[in-house]
């Protein structure tokens, strides 16, 4: 959507960025913002299905989920939470700078946001690699390296079906993977926005694309805000209890 608005510069009207079928810039901005919000609703429902699966299986197999969850790196997850929240802040600052017409600041903040986003993805890649090393990638997602954890390393009590542990890891990879995909798309959108900003396309009169991309970025941040406690933190006390 951001591109849709951002790249349509040809139509001349009151403002060079006004598309032919809108009456004025205000209407165009309103439509763009509402459109992004409605799109975010679909995203919420999209993740909602996975959150539901998570909730049901977490309550069905609390021990297995606790054991599996304990093997996630809470430090890296915590750092990533901080990284994303800071990136949300820089994004908000980029929007603000664009609105008040401080072009240089807005470019700097956009670049910082992208850098933080890439940092997040880098840390995520490290985490994924650790899981790969421990053969914790579920099923045969990676051909030739099926899910095959060492029970000792995971502190699996006897009798715990390995399938339930695998279920946790599948939910972990599905949710964080889908989240990471959204991050990658977000970085892509921001790079387009940054290029446009460098070219001076935005002004206090026309800044909707920055705003709209910002909404998307914040949403991706919010998803992680929930993923982190659910996947990394919940049920840690249970694991101690199991021994």
């Amino acid at each position: 959507m951001a591109e849709d608005l951002a790249t349509t510069q040809e139509h001349a009207a009151t403002h060079s960025a006004l598309q032919h079928h809108f009456e004025n810039m205000e209407q165009q901005r309103e439509a763009g913002t509402l459109g992004m919000w409605v799109f975010l609703v679909t995203e919420i429902m999209f993740f909602g299905g996975m959150f539901l699966a998570y909730t049901l299986y977490r309550s069905k197999y609390p021990e297995a989920f606790a054991v599996a969850s304990n093997h996630l790196d809470i430090k890296l997850g915590g750092i990533n939470t901080a990284v994303l929240i800071v990136s949300s802040f820089t994004m908000a600052m980029a929007v603000f700078s664009t609105q008040v017409g401080k072009k240089r600041n807005s470019i700097i903040f956009l670049l910082m946001t992208m850098a933080l986003g890439l940092t997040f993805l880098g840390i995520k890649a490290i985490e994924y690699h650790d899981k790969y090393r421990d053969s914790l990638i579920p099923g045969t997602l990676i051909p030739g390296r099926p899910f095959n954890p060492s029970p000792h390393e995971l502190h699996l009590p006897p009798g715990m079906p390995i399938g339930n542990v695998e279920l946790f890891y599948w939910i972990y990879f599905a949710m964080t993977g889908m989240h990471a995909l959204h991050m990658i798309i977000g970085v892509g959108i921001l790079s387009v926005i940054t290029i446009l900003a460098v070219r001076g396309r935005f002004s206090p009169e026309y800044h909707a694309p920055v705003e709209i991309s910002g909404l998307y970025w914040h949403f991706v941040d919010i998803v992680w805000i929930f993923l982190f406690p659910l996947l990394y933190l919940l049920g840690r006390h249970l694991a101690g209890h199991l021994g």
Binding site: Y61, E63, A64, P158, G159, M160, P161, G163, L242
Partner: protein, 332 residues
């Protein structure tokens, strides 16, 4: 089967009359409203047909009174159907006491039945008339469904757990049963006959049939060969693991202070996923038997645990004598 051209299937269980009654009630409502709407529409269409290309009828805004009326009337009718339907459904799915239990395993594309006396059947189920029958059903692969139109019963057989349904046949005869949940290539061939017999005839059939070990006895052999006795005691009296004597049907307190009822599903889960529900006072030491026992063997283990229970009589009052060791003879 029936004469000429029937519009409803044969009615042969204690439930079918109730279901038919609801069916006729809704049919009445449907026919009444369809006729009403159609007649009114046809009347209006003829009466108020356009007689003149330029006419403009007087606008009518609507009437809140009428709207309320035609919201409330359907609501009342709908709720009456709901209440009646729910009542019958509750009876349909409420497992009865003192039912003759039959274990059912569905697999692509056949049905295996085993009576508690040990007789096995494939795609055919013999049962006595006038006796409550409870089917305890498991699937070895995909979702199946046991549907007996004449009894108006249907329940999915879902892999990974037990489902059940019950009925009491009222008329001897042969009735079709079908798999009603699409299960792959030969889905339409996955059915057979329920043969309802007079009790004496049924007893005759039981004794004349090849009989294997009863599920409970087979379950006991499994129990011993899998080494369950080392923790649960040779006779299920308990040890490092909880006692099984009198377990079935009782309420079990777990180590998280929850209480669960020890039913078929609980026993099944405890064998396959022992960590899921740990009995209070015991450690998580039992290994999982996932993959080591198939659905039929699981059902036998469940039957064995059931047979250890004193709280629930395994044999219903009118149950025929157990003939575990009759001479093999030609199948029916």
């Amino acid at each position: 089967m029936q004469s000429s051209f029937p519009f409803i299937p044969e009615s042969a269980s204690t439930l079918s009359g109730d279901v038919d009654a609801v069916y006729f009630y809704i049919s009445g409502v449907t026919v009444f409203f369809t006729t009403l709407i159609s007649l009114v529409v046809i009347f209006f269409v003829i009466r108020y047909r356009r007689r003149n290309p330029f006419e403009i009828p007087r606008p009518i805004e609507g009437s809140t009174k009428l709207e309320t009326l035609w919201s409330v009337i359907p609501l009342v009718i709908a709720m009456s159907i709901f209440v009646w339907g729910a009542k019958v459904y509750f009876a349909e799915y409420r497992p009865p006491k003192n039912a003759l239990e039959v274990y059912v395993v569905g697999k692509q594309w056949m049905w295996k039945f085993q009576h508690s006396t040990g007789q096995r059947e494939i795609n055919e189920l013999h049962i006595p008339v006038g006796q409550k029958i409870k089917l305890i059903m498991a699937s070895e692969d995909v979702i199946h469904d046991v549907f007996v139109p004449a009894f108006r019963i249907k329940a999915d057989v879902v892999p990974g757990k037990y489902t059940s349904e019950w009925f009491e046949a009222t008329k001897p005869g042969r009735y079709h049963f079908f798999c009603a949940e699409y299960c792959g290539m030969n889905h339409s061939g996955m059915g057979g006959w329920v043969v309802v017999m007079e009790p004496a005839e049924f007893e005759n059939w039981l004794s004349g049939n090849v009989s294997q070990l009863s599920p409970a006895t087979a379950g006991r052999q499994m129990f011993e060969s899998l080494g369950c006795a080392s923790c649960h005691g040779a006779n299920g009296e308990g040890g490092r693991g909880p006692a099984l004597l009198g377990l079935f049907g009782s309420n079990v307190v777990l180590n998280n202070n929850q209480t669960v009822r020890a039913d078929e599903g609980y026993v099944r889960e405890s064998i396959l996923n022992p960590q899921a529900k740990i009995v209070s006072g015991f450690g998580p030491i039992m290994p999982s038997f996932q993959g080591q026992v198939n659905e039929e063997q699981l059902l036998q283990l469940v039957a064995f645990v059931k047979s250890l229970s004193t709280t629930k009589p395994e044999t219903p009052t009118t149950k025929p004598p157990v003939n575990a060791n009759v001479k093999p003879s030609a199948p029916h």
